[in-house]
């Protein structure tokens, strides 16, 4: 190497340090987020010698002052845990309730859907990664306090409010307060979630919930962990708790090719569901589309989904649906007793309705659900 002068040496060192310092400084500023207008002290947390520990979900984040949670929307500020997603949703839409999907709950009604940034999972195939993997500080939000949500729901003639898209568990405080006010105004509440929640907050929420759709993402703990970042057991516990409550429950299973499409695993899942009394809970097998970090897998083939449906029926699941495959009659409800077509669906439309007061018109068997 050539010899370098002293001045040259100083110049080079300065250049290097500047290069290294820049990122460090930027990150120092980025971390100084403070709970501002849209923050509420969290409902479930414990102060421990290691920092504050959140009790909402099994991740049980322990945060030191200034730290941000795994779900990106909780912070330790002055040794108190705050949710920073209170009243600032980043997605607000009106959807048909069938889109959640809920097929046995107020069919053909509209639901006012809200989501804030943040999620306690990090699924490789997330459809909403731009909001689920971000903090409310980084998204463009709309100020919408709980009262305003309910008001908006009424003006949009929606019968329910859905907490959906990202993960409502992580905006628990906002959801809880909104759900309470909604019930006062006879608006129903729908939880669309991954079910990764601790029992205590769930029990507190249940009185204000009317329906839930829980994603059962994979029936294998290791695979579940690899795909989502969370374990399976808490999700199963949530399912059991919800089933034992008055909340109307439906389950979604996304069939991801090469990941969760093994017939054995699907059979194991259906067995568990039936043995634990979920046979009358609608089960939606849904078609995977290449999204987020799983963009290099093709969509789930129809035959795979048909196979899954067949397995579920064999094991004794009474209401099995296939989502995202239009026009093939996979969204129809058949009477589990006489086998006749009770509800013929096409997307968000009911073409034929052979249901009277929650019963099959042909054989009077009760079709479980919340029909009005």
């Amino acid at each position: 190497m050539e010899k370098i002068s002293k001045r040259e040496f100083v110049r080079r060192t300065a250049f290097c340090t500047a290069g290294l310092l820049c990122p460090a400084m930027v990150s120092a500023f980025a971390n100084s987020s403070q709970p501002g207008k849209f923050s509420r002290e969290a409902y479930f947390y414990t102060t421990t010698p290691r920092g504050v520990r959140c009790g909402v979900c099994p991740n049980e984040c322990t945060l030191k002052p200034g730290e941000e949670s795994i779900c990106h929307n909780r912070v330790n500020y002055n040794n108190k845990l705050y949710s920073i997603a209170y009243g600032n949703p980043c997605a607000v839409h009106v959807d048909p309730v069938e889109k959640k999907p809920l097929f046995h709950f107020l069919p053909q009604s509209r639901t006012f859907s809200i989501a804030t940034a943040g999620c306690n999972f990090a699924c490789l195939n997330c459809q909403n990664w731009e909001i689920s993997q971000a903090s409310p500080n980084d998204t463009q939000n709309t100020a919408l306090m709980p009262e305003a949500v309910v008001q908006n729901c009424i003006t949009n003639t929606c019968e329910s409010i859905s907490y959906t898209y990202s993960e409502p568990i992580s905006f628990y405080e906002y959801m809880y307060d909104t759900a309470r006010i909604a019930h006062e105004k006879s608006i129903r509440n729908i939880l669309v979630s991954n079910g990764y929640m601790n029992p205590e907050p769930l029990k507190k929420l249940i009185p204000f919930l009317d329906a839930a759709n829980i994603d059962l993402k994979a029936f294998d703990s290791q695979l579940h962990l690899k795909l989502t970042g969370g374990t399976l057991q808490p999700v199963l516990d949530t399912l059991l708790t919800l089933k034992g409550s008055p909340v109307w429950l439906e389950i979604t299973n996304l069939v991801v090719p090469s990941w969760t499409d093994s017939p054995d695993m699907i059979r194991k899942m259906c067995k568990w569901l039936v043995n634990n009394g979920f046979s009358e809970i609608p089960l939606h097998f849904s078609r995977f589309y290449p999204r987020h970090k799983l963009t290099q897998l093709p969509a789930t083939p129809l035959n795979t989904l048909l196979k899954a449906k067949e397995i579920a029926s064999e094991e004794g699941c009474k209401y099995v649906y296939i989502g995202n495959i239009p026009g093939k009659g996979f969204e129809d409800t058949h009477c589990p007793q006489c086998g006749k077509l009770v509800i013929e669906r096409q997307g968000f439309t009911i073409l034929t309705n052979n249901l009277a007061e929650g019963k099959c018109k042909f054989c009077q068997a009760k079709i479980k659900g919340v029909w009005q």
Partner: protein, 820 residues
Amino acid sequence: MKQSPYLIFPIIIFLITAYLIGILLVKTGILSKVTHRKIWNSVLLITFLVSGILGLLIAIQINYKLEWPIVKKLLTWHVDFGIAMCIVSIFHLIWHLDYYVKLFQKNQPTTGPSTKTPKDVNSGRLINLLIVVLGFFTTTVQVLLIREITTVFQGNELMMAWTIGIWMFLTGSGTWLGRSFYNTNLPQIVRRIFTLLSYLPIGTIILINLCKHLFFLPGELVNPFGFLVIMIILLAPLCLLAGFAYSLLIHVQKNNKDKIINVYSFESAGSLIGGIVASFLLIRWVSISQAMLLVAIVIHLVLLFEKTTLRLIFSVSILMSGLILFFVLPVDRTIKSVLFQNQKVLKSQETFFGNLTITENAGEYSFFENGSLLFATGDIIQTEEYVHYAMLQHPAPENILLISGGISGMLDETLKYPTVKNVSYVELNSQIIKLGRLFKPLPNDNRLHVIYDDGRRFIQQSNHRFDVIILAVPDPSSLHINRFYTTEFFKILKQKITKNGVVLCAVSSSGNYLGPEKKQQEASIYNSIKGHFKYFVIIPGEKDYFIGSDSPLSANIAELSDQRNITASYVNSDYMDDRSIVNRGTQIQEQLNKLSILNTDNQPIPVFYESLHYLSQFVGRKFYWLLIPFILLLSPVLFLKPVSSAMYITGFTAASVEILLIFWFQIVLGYIYAAIGLIFAIFMGGLALGSYWGSKTAITRNHFLAGQGLLALYPLILALLWDIGKISVTGSFIWMIFIPVLLILATLTGFQYASTTFIYLPDLKKSAAIIYSADLWGSALGAILLTFFMAPLLGFKSTCLLIAGLNLIAILLNLRKQNT
């Protein structure tokens, strides 16, 4: 391989083996050298005569339209003998290479003493040959290996650019490491390094496939930072060694300024050959692993030519058996099957535009181009959305133009409209249809016309008018694809549609939330379309669809489809919830209205946001992480002196301007595969020419400064050139401008290599090595910066100004040094 009528590889392998056996016999003394050559000369004559006479017969038959039934057979023999003749004549050429080298230098007075010892001649000739081979080898391997990497890691444009960058950076570093190399037994070192080098590509391929399999989950998008690290580690042995070999060959040369610059010229010439062989021959006929083995065998043959050792013979037979193994067994498909777990790989083939793999899973087919999922059959929703969202807007569509996507089932959808008279379907990569047809046949309908061409080029040259134009091209993630989303392009489309004509394009869905990068990307496209049409609408679905027309449009798809009698399984009033579609569409539109950025040919801004969007999946908004790889690329500047910094800037200029020129060419004339090969050849030829010219000039500092000055002036002239493409001109006129412009750039770069080397250090060999490293380091930075920052963010013209400025800085740095 099965349908191929000609025995290319059996003949090549047979002849090479025979030749090797011959050499072995000569070396062991069983056969005399003269007899050996006599035999081969006879073979040459026979092949020449047979091929020639048969050719003549065929010519007569064709000219006079004679009905000779055996003519098919004749043709096969004609070609097969032609192949053999070609191979034998290559052996012949190698014997007499020095004759041709002398021919090339004819007008030069010979520098050394005219009476050379035979040994000198031999070694000089061999070194030149080795240099050419090195250029050939590195380029072939680079072209093919980067393809393989892209396929295996499902690389996008960003990753591809970084791979090229890392490649050049490491090669430059290898040369740098060898700058002062000295060893008494150079020939033996050369032999060892080249043998080692020849094994590395195939080894690298195996490791690449293994790494992907071990470190990444199935179907998972590869983390760009993990990818960078793996690439640096995997490419380091190959690139560093190849770079080192360059230094080595400089040191083997006699200490003579011509000879030292010759290394650069010959290497460029080798690259020229390598580029053409790789992109036109190898890609067509063999798989990448087979090509890597073939290239290794070429290196061995050259080494054998210099000295036949048993070890080399052994080594070459291993390679040969490897090659035969790859031909006989479906090794390549097995390797690919590992990558596509749970999917059955039906076909994996190299095409001009990338690797094409077709897989099957439970009765549905997926098409992967360069490892990235292009489309899958059975995706009813997207297929229907693309077609019906556009077609339903027109009261009676007759002439339809579909750019790409037809094989996924969109053609069937368009043909559902009874008014349709003609559907033109344009696809760039003909193999997609030819291979795809085997698994998913196109509708058999005489209203359908398939055209293999660049979509933009087709539209520019077409004098038809269409009622509906559907652009089913991928997201604008590269300069090449972005051409389908610019305001200039929509202006052309506007001229090619009828009065009520409808134009539809789509980008991947913003889902429930329009993120900042996505917003910029969509806004630039939105503004570019909106400006040309009276009516505009966004329909959110599986993708975000942008539709423009001069007749009123509607997003109430349910309503529209009810009015028509088209049966679609998804796009119908049962599935379409008009209220939420309209709401979401207006929400998006309101947000896009706030931005006024435009996507132009001159400034392809979506490319930048597309890469940020991709990266944000891994780093969130913490884009400062990107500084780390850039600091790495910039780090050599710290060690460079003003003169070598100037070469860094020259390399930067050459790489970035070359890409800029290709980009310009694609906008004006369209994407033509053969043209890219030609452009590469012209560039390499120019480098060889320029450096040769430099080596013959008595260089002073003023030459160097003048060269740099011309490089500063050049981009300024280029900026003026930009608008020539806007005036409608003929293809030949564009070529007439383009070739000299490209040649000037390459010649200047080659000349600067020579001039910089001469004035840099008194130790010419060390100087040549360092300057070469600087050239490559600069090129690495230039290639990456241009594609993802300079062109999209600054635009063509400002980029030209910036490059001119950099060259001025190079001049000033060196002037200042002279003064002090």
